[in-house]
């Protein structure tokens, strides 16, 4: 049946040669090479569940009175966006499940992207000829963050409404063009009703479409350039050692898709996420305490909270505080990320060779400790994003928590840098020591053999 279908198609497109060549492709094996696949398959699940959600969601901020089956909200004035999301959760069969799978998939998607990026960074997989794919990858990360923010902003609940307000303030803070930019993007002074349809089209069409295109190029480049591999016996810069696409790798990869889908379905069923029915509808004059954005926004939130109180004023013009925390901090982070392959190439004496064998992190202590330091910096920012909860948990004053984190955000990266650097050197020494010992043992064995041969 399948063979007949394949023959039917091949008789009309003559693709057998390509299919054979494609399916005999070799992929190197390492668990860390699955991280990108986890991101890819989470994206597939996001598309599938997202289409279902889009069929029920109304992008409309006009008022209505809630009359669905969730009693605590009965008679409450809410927007149609909020109303449609609540009825999706409580009145559409399997609606709550699919919505929660979608939200968990988004969190896992972002996590997989970030860990995948770390793997690329620490193993030097961004080096020539893969600089372009690094740039596409960083762009995908930025788009995924935008997409996630747009997604959890859609339901018009109290938590996300405040998030949009903050986003508006950040747009407004940009020098020269800020107020115009905010008015054009948000459709006027906050909260303009036009914005929800822009958010919706952005979230379900524009951004996912761009992401799909970039993911296509990302994968095409992986196929074209062939995957990197760790050094090892028989592995060189001129070959790929691993499994062929057909059938083993295909079975494994498709199996991974089903495993991820299973785990996400289980999470969506068992673990409550973003309970907007508890947050209530958004009103511009209300706010929740202990509010946190989704984790991938947490570091920007932390920067907003940690930035000391100041603004820049000159010649009657002003650069507000949120510009520094909300635009400059993430701008510098992503700017450096985009440039990193080129910076490293410059600093390491213009290494223009092609690299297809991966680095061991310990053998590049400068890069590795830089990466860990940047991680430490973001960890402090992430913690600062929850500084009110930290204060509540530890009983310390919020003032003390802020001051401590303001110091840590500079100190911890330096400490992390030094510790990692020393650790890398230690590990390298241990390696050479181990190698020497092994060589010595081999020589002793040889001598014994030689000795016995003489005797």
């Amino acid at each position: 049946m399948i063979a007949r279908l394949a023959r039917y198609i091949d008789d009309r497109v003559r693709g057998g040669e390509y299919a054979k060549k494609g399916m005999s492709k070799v992929f190197p094996e390492h668990w860390s090479f699955l991280l990108g696949e986890i991101a890819l398959y989470s994206f597939v699940i996001l598309i599938a569940t997202g289409i279902f959600l889009a069929l029920f969601f109304k992008a409309d901020w006009s008022d209505t009175t809630y009359q669905g089956s969730y009693a605590p909200l009965h008679g409450v004035e809410v927007s149609k966006s909020y109303d449609s999301t609540i009825s999706l959760i409580f009145d559409v069969p399997a609606g709550a499940l699919i919505r929660q799978i979608h939200h968990w998939a988004a969190l896992v998607f972002l996590a997989a992207i970030v860990v995948h990026l770390l793997r690329i960074f620490f193993t030097g997989a961004f080096k020539r000829p893969r600089e372009l794919n690094w740039i596409i990858g960083v762009t995908l990360l930025v788009l995924a963050i935008v997409e996630g923010f747009a997604g959890y902003s859609l339901p018009d609940d109290l938590l996300s409404g405040v998030g949009i307000r903050i986003g508006y303030s950040i747009a407004q803070s940009i020098p020269v063009v800020g107020s115009w930019l905010a008015f054009l993007v948000f459709g006027g002074e906050f909260p303009a009703d036009e914005f929800v349809s822009r958010l919706y089209i952005g979230h379900v069409f524009v951004v996912p479409l761009i992401m799909m295109g970039l993911i296509g190029i990302h994968l095409f480049l992986v196929v074209r350039q062939k995957h990197t591999q760790f050094p090892g016996p028989g592995r060189t810069n001129d070959n790929v050692v691993g499994e062929r696409l057909w059938p083993t790798y295909t079975a494994k990869s498709v199996g991974l898709f089903f495993l991820i889908a299973g785990v996400l379905a289980g999470m969506g069923g068992l673990f409550q996420i973003n309970p907007i029915w508890l947050y209530g509808p958004y009103h511009p004059d209300t706010v929740t305490t202990f509010a946190q954005p989704d984790w991938y926004m947490g570091w920007v939130e932390g920067a907003l909270r940690l930035m000391p109180s100041f603004r820049v004023e000159a010649f009657g013009y002003e650069i507000p505080n949120v510009f520094f925390s909300g635009v400059l901090v993430p701008g510098v982070t992503f700017g450096l990320m985009y440039l990193y392959p080129f910076i490293e190439q410059r600093l390491t004496g213009a290494d223009r060779r092609e690299h297809h064998l991966l680095d061991r992190p310990r053998e590049h202590p400068w890069r590795t400790s830089l990466g860990v330091a940047i991680l430490a910096y973001h960890a402090v920012l992430l913690a600062a994003g929850a500084q009110d909860i930290l204060a509540e948990m530890t009983g310390a004053s919020i003032n003390l928590i802020i001051r401590t984190l303001q110091v840590l955000v500079f100190v911890l990266p330096i400490v992390a840098w030094v510790v990692t650097f020393l650790l890398c050197n230690q590990l390298q020494q241990a390696d050479t020591y181990g190698a020497r010992k092994a060589a010595l043992r081999r020589r002793e064995e040889d001598e014994v053999e030689v000795g016995s041969g003489l005797g």
Binding site: L184, D238, G255, I260, H283, V287
Partner: protein, 292 residues
């Protein structure tokens, strides 16, 4: 084939089969549960086993009963030393040589595309109104001497708030207004020593009103902490001293909350005497510095 290997192969087949069987059962359970309108948890767990069973079995099958690694494929470097690139470039150039009047017509094409490119930018202007002075004014500027009302539209009488009380109010007719939301506080009579930069003439019978929009990122300054006489923003932990003109004392906010001129009308209701003394909310490039 050794007996050992036969045994392990049989075990593999059994466990892979088990995974697929679990998936089939779970899928059937899902359908039944869906028809019975089961809970999210039950549906999720059914899907977990339906997807997970297939995932487990495919992976196990690949690991235990399919050809394993060690296959080698040659890799060509991306930079080719043989000059494929040069040959392609030469080909393109040689074909271009047959195109007549390249300089003039190519330049004209570039000019036309450039003009068109500029033209298609124009419709983006339709996306929003001109900011104008929208950011400097609030809904208080739209009516003279509006009563201060609650979100339900109830006017606030001079006896409504006890000392130490806090209420969110709006200009009458603009209930729920995003830009005119106001924190109305009645100060404790024992602790009313207001200081600069508070405008003392706008404090009447202990009532004092500030914009409720945080000057940092625009969140509502939602909490009045009576013991410290501070307004606290739960978003980024900025704190404003009520007795000192709502000056920021903690957190990232860099500017006081603008104060609202208020009075009490003949019937004893609170009214606004005008708009806030400064632009409300977070700053921007051309924010006016000496009052709106």
């Amino acid at each position: 084939m050794s007996e050992q290997r036969q045994k392990s192969e049989r075990a593999a087949v059994r466990s892979i089969l088990a995974g697929f069987v679990v998936a089939v059962i779970a899928a059937v359970v899902f359908m039944v549960e869906y028809a019975l309108d089961a809970s999210t948890q039950v549906l999720g767990v059914a899907l977990l086993f339906a997807f997970g069973g297939i995932g487990y079995s495919l992976t196990a099958w690949a690991h235990r009963l399919m050809p394993r690694g060690g296959e080698v494929e040659d890799r060509k470097l991306m930079h080719d030393p043989e000059g494929e690139q040069q040959a392609a470039a030469d080909y393109f150039r040689s074909r271009l040589a047959g195109v007549q009047r390249r300089g003039l017509l190519g330049g004209a094409l570039a000019a036309a595309l450039g003009a068109l490119g500029l033209a298609v930018v124009f419709p983006f202007r339709s996306l929003g109104p001109r900011p104008g002075d929208a950011l400097r004014r609030t809904d208080y500027a739209k009516v003279p001497r509006p009563k201060l009302v609650t979100s339900e539209g109830r006017p606030v009488h001079r006896d409504d708030l006890p000392p130490g009380g806090f209420l969110t109010v709006f200009p009458e007719g603009f209930e729920g207004s995003a830009n005119a939301q106001t924190a109305l506080i009645r100060l404790d009579p024992d602790r009313t020593e207001v200081q600069a930069p508070t405008r003392e003439e706008w404090v009447v019978e202990g009532y004092i009103a500030y914009s409720k929009i945080c000057t940092h990122a625009g969140c509502p300054v939602g909490e009045y902490q009576q013991e410290f006489q501070t307004l606290f923003c739960p978003c980024h932990q900025s704190s404003f001293e009520v007795l000192r003109g709502a000056s920021p004392v903690l957190g990232p906010a860099d500017r006081p909350l603008p104060q609202l001129p208020i009075g009490i009308d003949e019937a004893g209701f609170l009214v606004a005497l005008g708009d806030f003394d400064e632009a409300v909310g977070p700053g921007w490039w051309t924010r006016p510095k000496d009052g709106a």
